[in-house]
Amino acid sequence: MKTPSYLQQFFEETGDISRFAARFFKEGFKPRYEFGELVRQAFFIGYKSLPLVGITAFIMGLVLTIQSRPTLVEFGAESWLPGMVSVSLVREIAPMITALIAAGKIGSSIGAELGSMKVTEQIDAMEVSGTNPFKFLVVTRILAATLMLPILSLWSNAIALYGAYLGANIKGIVSWSLYWSQVFQAISYSDFIPSLIKTFFFGFAIGVIGCYKGYNSKKGTEGVGNSANSAVVVSSLTIFVIDLIAVQITDLLGLT
């Protein structure tokens, strides 16, 4: 029985991405390290994404609070609003929103950049000139994405919680200090640490998939567009899959 071609393609691509990731570890830990390029990529991936991530997180915090209020009021548990919203934000919403925004912004830019380099044969030229293109282009980007995503997630946590504070004060009154003491009363390490660890994997997935799609871009302008597009789609999907796996692991470890 012949395997259907699309399923074969899927497994083939999964295998390729795995090999690509393995190559990242193999080359990444070997000197010489491209620190300058790493910092430059970190600046683009981290700092340049901050406004977008910040606005999204702020709106999410605000909206989630406003949306949750009526239900809690129905139960007479309005005072639980900060605690409940903060747990949802820290555990799930802030990391996911950050990762999805980053997948859209970083994944597509990496895919397009590497794709066009590949198409214009700059990568080949680099190899000829003696620079390891994988090390210079891929390792720095993946590493930057892996390191920046958690920091972006921390930022988005803080901004989303501030948004939630404003949201809680639109209809009700919660003082600044009461709000934060309720938030930290509700959040425990078992909420915060797994969600922080999760974001490393999100960043890694975004970097690996973006670079893979760009690095293996097909010839022509269409190939660049394709690789940018599929980098976003696949990395977004991967983020959800990782989230699913992460929640299972935290649940198994009893960190609920």
Partner: protein
């Protein structure tokens, strides 16, 4: 180059603030779980912890002072709970303090309440000490009781409703309540009662004095009551009185019998009293006697003047005169 430097600065700030947020969050969460405070441990055993878990709060006088470190089963009826409590409150928790499993609000998280014994004094608790525990209030049991209470309350309010309805429908009561003259009367009555009471008090006082006097043997009643000799005499008197009465009774009965007889006309007196013909005869006889005695008087007067008897009468007159003179002389003599 300048561009790279400024972007590096921006990146550095971004990363640094990220790290500050990370450390701040870690610290704040940790301090909420008392990870960075100086702490001490105390233990308590319970029969039932109602779902108390590691990490739940420990409260002392309503303040969060620690967390639950461990909940473990020791035997089939005992659960040992280890608590971590801040050193700040160490001096306030006594050896006789009591731990209770409670709930934060009606449906909130479980927690352990530590309360001091009512006596207030005692030694401060030490590291690893075992606190006394009381049986926690179970929500189920509470709700069951509440249900019963509600039923009773329902019945009571129903009755109350009926009563108020009756009150509302009765005009007489309302008129009574609204009538000011009633109040006025009541006021007057109360004033009268007050006066009466005052009088009664005075009266009682007097009575008291009287009784006191009687007790002390003063007054007639006192003598009567207290003097045993007079009591005996009195007894005798009463006995004699009894006898007299008895006699009187006999006499009366005799008299009664006589009267009966007289009424019926038996015996001489009876005839005298009841026979009217005889009475007439008697009247006539009496008249005759009267006339006869008048005549006799005349005869006697005539006899005085008769010579035969004159001497006797004169002699008698002289003797009488002499006796009178003698008695007068005697009186003079005595005066002298």
């Amino acid at each position: 180059m300048k561009n790279t430097t400024s972007s590096n600065v921006q990146l550095g700030m971004f990363v640094m603030i990220g790290f500050v947020l990370l450390l701040g969050t870690l610290y704040l969460i940790g301090s909420n779980q008392n990870l960075f405070d100086q702490t001490f441990e105390v233990k308590a055993t319970f029969h039932n912890v109602n779902g108390l878990m590691k990490g739940n709060n420990v409260r002392f006088s309503g303040i969060d002072v620690g967390t639950i470190k461990k909940v473990e089963i020791v035997s089939d009826t005992t659960v040992k709970v280890t608590m971590v409590i801040k050193n700040d409150v160490h001096s306030f928790i006594k050896k006789g303090s009591i731990a209770t499993v409670g709930t934060d609000g009606l449906m909130g998280n479980k927690l352990v309440n530590i309360s001091n014994p009512s006596s207030g004094s005692g030694e401060t608790v030490e590291e690893g000490d075992m606190l006394a525990s009381t049986k926690p209030v179970e929500t189920d049991a509470m709700l069951r009781t509440l249900d019963l209470t509600n039923q009773n309350l329902f019945q009571i309010t129903t009755d109350l409703k009926r009563v108020t309805q009756k009150l509302n429908n009765s005009n007489s009561l309302w008129s009574l309540l609204l009538d000011t003259s009633v109040a006025q009367n009541v006021k007057h009555s109360i004033a009268s009662i007050r006066a009466t009471t005052k009088n009664t008090t005075a009266f009682t006082n007097d009575l008291n004095f009287l009784i006191q006097d009687m007790k002390n043997g003063k007054g007639v009643a006192g003598i009567l009551l207290r003097d045993t000799a007079s009591t005996i005499r009195l007894q005798k008197s009463i006995q004699q009185l009894q006898q007299v009465t008895n006699r009187a009774l006999e006499v009366t009965s005799d008299i009664k019998a006589v009267t009966e007889k007289m009424k019926t006309g038996k015996g001489a007196t009876g005839v005298l009293l009841s026979d009217t013909a005889f009475a007439k005869d008697l009247k006539r006889t009496m008249k005759n006697i009267e006339i006869a005695s008048d005549r006799f008087n005349e005869n006697m007067e005539a006899m005085k003047h008769n010579f035969l008897f004159r001497g006797y009468f004169k002699k008698q007159e002289k003797e009488l005169k002499k006796a009178r003179e003698d008695s007068m002389a005697m009186t003079f003599k005595k005066i002298k």
